[in-house]
């Protein structure tokens, strides 16, 4: 962990990365973050002046998929640069130190950066039977979260487990798993759901926190930049939905023509995430592009929300849980003007009423 006073610009210079190159990456980052493309230059200037930030990463009841995801941001780009630039002072999967040395590193970082460090959490926290179902160094997840959260500047909950309880919370929730925001109420919390979250969404949010502070959040504490649109709003199959052209079964004629997967159970209309624009595996594809509907992995209780292959219109789960308002906002967004202007978008949301599933022409 090198000098805390160093700014990113000197790090860039040291690596022989020109500011032009940096602007190029900020441009792609701005696109991903749904900032106006014109803001990229401003972001590049701000980001160049940031100082090294201490980050403590706690992994609780999780599968390590979130860490796998963030370490696989393939692009030799701003995201990996940001990830390299932060001072990851504790991450028990990635750090070299182990055992009591690792815990000492955590305590040292907490002490040195009191009130200033960012706490990243993946995994849910089991509360049943005194929290015995997940412990680190003999300490329950609950105790460790409370101890480290106390002096954190902000908390970033990554993955559907840390944000909403995720798979551990799925019925019958044997460990009494809860999310970070169920426990911590006195700190700013940013939720980045997804099973796992998109790598660039994690690093993008960190970049945002470092440059512009806590991003604008929705009612579920998710950054609007990434979770403001539904998958459906940004789906390249959306024009087929608008025309009423639906695949009726996998691999039928409609499916082969790339028609909308709504009737095959796609949860795109009720799922807020950036998969349709950012895509996965270095921008290769995303589930819908591979011919499978979205399963809604970044929404609360997705595992218990009915079948993955049941159409939303057949009444899965409780409709109230699903954000039908997004459909109205999506329909309101003009096509070419769909370039993300946040103020325009919130106006559109205000001026348009919610549509019901029946309005969408869904079958009962």
């Amino acid at each position: 962990m090198s000098n805390n006073k160093q700014v990113l610009a000197s790090e860039l210079q040291r690596h022989g990365i020109s500011r032009r190159t940096f602007l190029k990456f900020c441009t792609s980052m701005a696109s991903v973050m749904a900032l106006s493309p014109a803001d990229a230059a401003q972001m590049a200037e701000k980001l160049a002046t940031i100082k090294r930030q201490s980050v403590i990463w706690l992994s609780f009841q999780e599968c390590t998929g979130c860490t796998e995801s963030i370490t696989r941001s393939h692009k030799p780009s701003l995201e990996s640069l940001i990830f390299d630039f932060i001072s990851l002072d504790y991450h028990h999967t990635l750090q070299a130190a182990s055992g009591s040395a690792a815990e000492a590193a955590r305590e040292q970082a907490m002490h040195d950066n009191k009130g200033k460090y960012i706490l990243v959490v993946d995994g849910s926290i089991p509360l049943k039977d005194g929290g015995v179902y997940s412990t680190i160094a003999g300490m329950t997840n609950l105790d460790m979260l409370q101890q480290v959260a106390k002096d954190a500047a902000a908390i970033v909950a990554v993955g559907t487990c840390a944000t909403f309880g995720g798979l551990p919370k799925a019925s019958p929730n044997p460990t009494g798993a809860v999310s970070v925001s169920d426990i911590i109420h006195d700190k700013p919390i940013i939720n980045i759901p997804g099973c796992p979250p998109i790598p660039v969404v994690m690093t993008g949010v960190l970049a945002h926190v470092l440059t512009f502070g806590i991003p604008e959040l929705d009612s579920l504490k998710r950054p609007k930049a990434f979770f403001g649109d539904s998958i459906h709003d940004r789906c390249y199959r959306r024009p087929f939905y608008d025309r009423g052209q639906f695949a009726k079964s996998f691999d039928d004629a409609g499916a082969r023509k790339g028609w909308c997967l709504y009737e095959l159970g796609c949860k795109g209309p009720t799922t807020h995430n950036a998969c349709a624009t950012v895509k996965w595996n270095d921008g290769t594809s995303f589930p819908i592009q591979s011919g499978h509907g979205c399963i809604g992995c970044s929404e609360p209780d997705f595992w218990d929300a009915g079948g993955f292959y049941k159409s939303i219109s057949t009444g899965i789960g409780e409709p109230g849980q699903w954000a039908t308002g997004a459909l109205a906002a999506g329909a309101a967004a003009g096509l070419a003007s769909a370039y993300l202007n946040k103020s325009t978008k919130s106006d559109a949301e205000k001026n348009h009423q919610e549509v019901t599933l029946e309005d969408m022409g869904a079958k009962k």
Partner: protein, 142 residues
């Protein structure tokens, strides 16, 4: 879009046109007028528009190629080309393994990324000073 058939032969299926290209053209007309009148630049982020590959090809061929093609050789190449229409620039940023990471249409006279950054210019002056100092040292030791 490529799919596999049972004989493992790759078949290209063309994604249909959806009318997006014409929609973008309308936005361009409006923004060109604004730029001509007020100097206000505009950027359309093609990466985040719901366009099929056919839509993109359609738009690209409608806008055509202009007088300036610039290749930016940085970590991965970038292509910065003026289209057949003055003031409309088509910009493609690639990663080193030639993956497209962002694609923009800029309405401007010169895209910002072409200009040298003041910090880099300052750094360049220092670099040249270093070269001179190193040369002088070498001469002294000889």
């Amino acid at each position: 879009m490529a799919v596999m058939n049972p004989l493992n032969l790759e078949i290209e299926i063309a994604e249909p046109k959806t009318g997006m290209a014409k929609a973008v053209l309308n936005e361009l007309i409006e923004q060109l007028q604004i730029f001509a009148d007020t100097g206000k630049q505009h950027i359309i982020d093609l990466t985040s528009l719901p366009m099929t590959s056919s839509d993109k090809h359609e738009l690209e061929s409608l806008l055509g190629t202009g007088e300036i093609n610039i290749t930016l050789s940085t970590i991965g190449e970038s292509q910065i080309n003026e289209t057949a229409f003055s003031g409309i620039w088509w910009i493609k940023h690639y990663t080193p393994d030639r993956k497209l990471i962002s694609e923009l249409i800029e309405i401007t006279d010169v895209p910002a990324i072409i200009k040298s950054h003041p910090d880099d210019i300052k750094h360049a002056a220092n670099e040249i000073k270093n070269i001179i100092n190193n040369d002088e040292q070498e001469i002294r030791y000889e």
